[in-house]
């Protein structure tokens, strides 16, 4: 009697559970995306295929406003975070250990460890005081708060890239009488660029997606797309929220695909 070859990596039930896990991961997301194309006014009843709700969201002044604010905050915060993270990565890699290095690591990774709600209320306390004292209620609060929690996401890919880099090229540049700045500009920076771009993309996605810290730091009328969506919860939901979600999901998938392609070409 024919017997199937004994596969050592097979464990009973594991494949079934894995398939179940992928179904569980994707059914809710697909449902959300499909209902974004619902022609009807309900998030539960299908009223035919249509781009209606994308149009509604696109023409909604509040959504436009929130989308522009989300992009401005994400672009500024990721630019700041990537710049300071790049400097920190250059200072903390490839030269051996130094006193205080652990402290710097802990500080940089601290936003990953502290629950967001705790940071959010702490920022609320401090920024509320500053807002009253100075009278300034602009976007700078949101930008600095976002920059802070984006730093670890920008730092980790840059550090990983630097650690994999050969220092011989920089030594060679110095031997050929390149000034430290020239060596950095012509050798180090181009070599570390994939890490920098990857870090910037992650920081951008993280800032764009933030709900909790934004909700507590923003001044009146400073909604970003996620806080706008959270606010919509109090009303009856329409597929407009699905349409906005789908658009944000699209941006995330595009940036992530870019991130993977960039980090894969490394080897």
């Amino acid at each position: 009697m024919a017997r199937r070859a004994f596969n050592v990596t097979t464990l009973p039930g594991f494949t079934a559970i894995a398939v179940l896990a992928f179904v569980v991961l994707y059914v809710p997301i697909f449902t959300l995306v499909i209902y974004a194309f619902n022609g009807g006014s309900s998030v539960a009843l299908w009223g035919g295929f249509s781009f209606r709700w994308f149009g509604v969201a696109w023409n909604n002044a509040a959504v436009q406003d929130a989308a522009i604010r989300s992009l401005v905050v994400a672009a500024s915060a990721s630019a700041i975070a990537t710049t300071v993270a790049m400097m920190a990565a250059l200072g903390t890699t490839r030269r051996g250990r130094f006193s205080g290095q652990t402290f710097i690591y802990v500080m940089i990774n601290q936003p990953l460890m502290v629950p967001e709600i705790v940071t959010a209320v702490a920022l609320l306390i401090v920024f509320a005081g500053i807002k009253i004292a100075t009278g300034y209620t602009g976007l700078a609060y949101l930008i600095i708060a976002h920059a802070a929690f984006c730093i670890p996401f920008a730092y980790l890919p840059i550090r990983a890239r630097l650690e994999g880099m050969d220092t011989a090229l920089e030594v060679a540049a110095a031997d050929l009488y390149a000034s430290p700045w020239q060596a950095f500009r012509r050798i180090t920076l181009p070599l570390m660029m994939p890490g920098v771009i990857a870090g910037a993309m992650l920081a951008f996605v993280i800032s764009l997606d933030d709900v909790i810290i934004t909700e507590f730091v923003k001044s009146a009328g400073q909604d970003t797309l996620p806080t706008y969506m959270l606010g919509q919860l109090r009303r009856a939901l329409t597929p407009e929220v699905n349409a906005i979600s789908t658009a944000l999901l699209g941006v995330t998938v595009v940036l992530l695909t870019g991130f993977f392609l960039i980090t894969r070409t490394k080897d």
């Binding site: 991961l25 250059l90 601290q110 705790v118 996605v205």
Partner: protein
Amino acid sequence: MGIGTEAARQREVTRKGWLLSTPALIVLFCAAAGPLLVMAVYSVLTKGQYSGVVWDFSGDGWFRVLFERDIFNGTVSLADAHLTIFWRSVKLSLATTVITLILGLPTAWFIATRAVKWRAFWLFLVTIPFWTNLLIRTFAIMEVIKNEGILNTALLKLGAISEPIQILYTDTAVFLGMAYVYLPLMVLPIYAVMDRFDIRLIEAGYDLYASRWQVFRRVILPIIRPGIVAGSILVFVPSLGAYVTPRVLGGGKNMMIGNFIELQFGQGNNWPLGAALSMVLLVIILIALLVYVRVSTHEVERG
């Protein structure tokens, strides 16, 4: 000469390291670590009449984390409402960790045993939900479990139930939501360990007449244990501090610690209590992380 230049070089490394890290440290101090210190101070101040704090020392914030004092006769008793919230947070976070482990371990194994060229694809499928906005994923699971959602509709059509089950706005909804949202955090670290797994160890196990269960229990499990510990911590920590998922799916009544903290800075209007609760949450998470560091260094030492 050697020692002198070596010391000078080390000084230079230290100086440059600190100098280059300073901008990042300033941003982090202004908008992350600094405010946490301010909050630690606020936890030992007196609560203001309408909001905020009065700058007088008081242990009342910390006292109220667990106890309450009767306003008429001053008797001290345990604050039952607070204990209920703590217990719900711990219970739901543990349940989330267990269910994500049950689903995540086989998923990681499945990915790690695919052909090399397909692994990146399956891994990418796990990564997309991980990076997708938490709020969007919470909305997505809400649409599935609500009364008119596809879960209830499917069960009704199949005749399994005669009327929709109310899942939304219950503890079950918060549990399902957190399990859904944090599942990738369990899969990714376990996969990271399995990826370096040497298949020949399993073959050796079978050659020595081990059963499938024995191979799993004695060969696979000890090797992937660090991944399981990492995944469990990565799921448990954000679950315990969850805010968005219980707010959206729990509907205001089924609060977790995160929502309870927010309440103190809003309607509850007791900033010192809110600050003390935040500190308690931070300490619990710090302990969880220390346990993780201990376990993972222990693993390294054992080889």
